[in-house]
Structures are given as C-alpha cells and as structure tokens.
Symmetry: C2
Subunit: 256 residues, 2 copies
DNA sequence: CTTGACCCTCACGCAAGGTGAGGGCCTATC
DNA sequence: GATAGGCCCTCACCTTGCGTGAGGGTCAAG
C-alpha cells in the first residue's frame, strides 16, 4: 500500500468534515479501504478518487443515494447522468424565476398599481350581457332557474355602488392569483388552489344573493366554457386561463 | 362567533393537510381560536386569514420560523419582507444557473473537446521564460535557491515528452476547475477548494522534481502575483483568477 | 346502538449531516 | 514510564416540514 489516510487527513484534503466521512461509511457510499484492530478507518488512493467523484456530483445537489447508484453501476455514462441532472436543475431554476416574477407582481400590486387595472378590466362587466347568460342557464336547467335569476338580479341591484366595486376588486384578486398559479404550472387539480376557489365560490354566492352550492359551482364552469364573453375575458387575462379555471372549479367541486 | 372550522374543514379550504395544521399548532405558528373539552381544535375567520398569509410566504420557500417572526411583529412591512426574500431567491436561481453552465462545460469536456484546448494553452509554456522566474526567485530567496532551480531543470528535462504533455493536461484540469469555482463565487478560503489545491501542489512537486512544501507553495503564490506572464495567463483563462488562485494557495497552505 | 367519519396524542421516519458525550489510542515530552 | 494533547471510535439526539401510521376517544346518522 502506498499511502493510507486517516479520516482527518482525507477530510482535510477533500474539504469535507470527519462526520461526513463517517456518514458516507454508514450509508455505504464510501467505505474505508481497511479498518484497523482499533476500528480506525484507513482510506487509500481509490477511495480518495471515489470521494472526488462523489463530491463532484454532490455539488450539483444530487442525492447521495443517486450518486451511489451511479458510481456503483459499472460502466455508467457520466454524460447522460449529467444531462439528466442538468434538466432537474433547469427546472428548479425556472421555478425560482417564476417565484421571483410573482413576487415582483405582488410588490407592484401592494404598491397600489392594481386598482386601476381592476377598474379597467371589471367595470360594468357582469351586468352588461347578463341577458345572454340567463338564456343559457334557463335552457339548460329549465324554468326553475328563472326564479333564481330574478333573485340574483334583485340581490345585485340592492348592493351599493361601493360594495359592487369591492366585489369586483375581490374577483380581480382571485383571478390574478389563479392566473399566477397557471403561469407557475401548478396543476388545476392541486389542493393549493382550494383557498382561491373557495373565495371564488363565496364571491359567486355574493353576486347571486344566496350561497353557491358545489353543484351550481361546477355548472358555472360549463357556462364559462360555453360563452365567448367569459372565454375572451379570461384569455385576455392569461392565455389558457379559461380551461384552467373551469378544470379547477370542477376538481374543487368534486373534491370538497 | 360566526363560523368555527374543524381541522379537516380548514385544511380542505386552504389546500393543506390536517397534519400541517397540527404541526403549525405545535410550533405555535397557527393556534386554534379555541379548543373544546374533547381537545378538538376550532378555527375562526381570523385564523383562516392568518393561514392564508402563512401559505403565501411559504410558497416562496420562506422558513416557518421566519414567517412567524414576520406575522407576529405587528405593523411589519410586507413589501420589504418580500424584497428581501426576493433577493434570496434570486441568489438561488443564479446559483442554479451557474451549476448548469458548469455542467454544460463539463459535458463538453467529457466529449473530448478539451484536449486541443489544453494543448493550445499550455504547450511550451513553462520552459519559455523560465529564466525570468529564476532571477526573481534568487533575488528573493538568496543563492540557496539556485541549487533548487538547477534540480528543477534537470528533473523537468529528464521527463519524456509524453509525460510533459500529461503534466500540462493535469494543470489544465486543475486550473479549469478553479476557474469554475471562481465563476461560482466560491470563496478562495473555502475548504472545498482543498482537493484542487492538493493536486496543484502535487503538480508543482512533479515539476520541481521534489515535494513542494507548504511554505514553498505559499511563496509560489507570490511569484504568480508578481510576474505579468503568470498574471496574463490566468487572467486570459478567467478574469480575476490570478488573485483567486493565489489567495486560495495561501489560505490552503495556512490551513493544512 | 352500531357504523363510519372524524378527532386526538404520541412517536418514528425522511436527508445530510452538526454537535456533543463518553471513552479508547497514540505518541511526544518531561 | 507517566502524563498531556490530539486524534480516533461509537452512540445518540438535533435540525426542517411535515408523512404516515398506531392506538384510542367522539360525534352524527341510520
């Protein structure tokens, strides 16, 4: 044997701690070349080299288990392993960039620039072509729907202008949040959307003047899908939002 | 009280698990509005709101402890908190991008494009202006140095051409690795540089025909710093590498 | 009065080590 | 040849943010 290194020596040379070497021994990632009577660990050239490889992959945030699997499969393809890991890193980097963008937008909103935007997008919207939606609802759900619609109109009309604006702001808030989730590629079925859908359903209830049942909520999703007005509005907010929102609404209704 | 929510209800509405709420209760991040005789947890409006805030910050990878500190400091500045966290995220994203670039370069190198590069940069280098370095060394360290230099030249001359090229490739490897560390903003004093400095010192020993002591190694750093040839070469490899390498060499010599 | 859905409190597990505690080994110096 | 200091060992608990049971009480509906 040319040179036997103790834990401390190998640790110093390699820039890790003794505990790390103990750990790697424990999990079988890097075993000493031999172990003395006194249970001292001794490492040789080969172990030093293996440790270099381990640290190389570890740098990139690879899991120790994955590294072990790589190194212990003889004749493994470094290039492919790296490429695969590269993809994971890219995904993480992208995720961080998304989060940063979201933070930026949130900061802007907190700074109050959002109010105009909301007024812009939402003023007058829900009253304008109400008639068409009513027709569709009645067609689909029969005459019993007519009473509901009448109730709804009375409820809406009875609200003060301030309250109406407040509701529109709430809607803007919710839809903005969902649009961001979409941009972040959060699944429409994800549980984390629930809080926003809950708020959305409550909002619908407010507009209708009576609570929105889960069934009705799922049905509303179909209305959104079927009417170009809604579709156009959502797509203007964020491409793909129509399908995203309606899927989320149905998933939510089915889940709760 | 308007509405009391059970754990399950709050969990479903908010898109988290029951266990998460238990956990938040345990660590004091979100306590129930009140607790029944039967130890059931009941949450109110206020808790729902607080949970929304918690989840908002959690999304960005903020630690629960930090979130608690934020929310429990009354009159805290959301915008500033977000800005600070944004900076952290940006740093992480940047780190990932660096790693990705490093992987890309590594893949390129593994694909064999490095050989030319090495030959390009290193052929003939150490013999060319050897004379000047010698003068400097003698000036600084006195006549005793002359013998060392003579030894060194003999040692170098006695090596085969193949062996010389091999040594140059090793040097290229080490310097490339250090340049990458520099690009990744790893501190020159960091322990993780040790393996490369170890190899570098061994390389110097090979060139000299005798082991390079830690003292000599630290002295060599000064040579690199003082001579424009070295400086130019390192800066061509990566801007700032001269200072980085020499700092690392000295830190390493002092540490081991 | 039973069933099933919900609630509770432990308590272990994960990844990758950090940080001692308590005790043996080695070697240099007095 | 004894003692000091430095290195080595093996437990074994701590960290983050929960997941995942185990074992047992509670509640509303049929």
């Amino acid at each position: 044997m040319s040179k036997e290194l103790t834990v401390k020596q190998l640790a110093t040379i390699s820039g890790v701690t003794v505990r790390t070497l103990h750990h790697y021994d424990e999990i079988g990632l890097l075993k000493p070349a031999n172990v003395g009577e006194n249970r001292y660990r001794y490492y040789g050239e080969a172990e030093l080299l293996r440790l270099q490889q381990i640290l190389f992959y570890r740098e990139f945030g690879m899991q120790l288990g994955a590294i072990a699997a790589l190194l212990d499969r003889p004749g493994f393809d470094h290039v492919r392993a790296l490429s695969e890991h590269r993809a994971k890193l890219a995904a993480k980097a992208e995720r961080y960039r998304q989060l940063i963008r979201t933070i930026d937008r949130t900061i802007d909103r907190l700074n109050g620039e959002q109010l105009m935007n909301a007024n812009d997008l939402y003023k007058g919207f829900p009253l304008e072509r109400q008639v068409d939606y009513e027709k569709w609802l009645v067609e689909r759900h029969g005459d019993a729907m007519k009473d509901h619609i009448a109730d709804s109109k009375r409820a809406l009309a009875s609200l003060s202008g301030d309250r109406q604006r407040q509701l529109m702001t709430e809607l803007a808030d919710i839809e903005c949040a969902l649009a961001e989730k979409l941009r972040e590629r959060v699944s429409a079925e994800a549980g984390e959307l629930a809080p926003f859908l809950e708020r959305h359903r409550a909002w619908v209830g407010e507009m209708w003047g009576r609570p929105c049942s889960l069934q009705a909520y799922a049905g509303l999703a179909d209305l959104y899908l079927s009417h170009p007005d809604f579709r156009a509005r959502y797509e203007r907010l964020e491409p793909g939002l129509t399908g995203y929102l309606t899927s989320a609404m149905k998933a939510y209704a089915a889940r709760v």
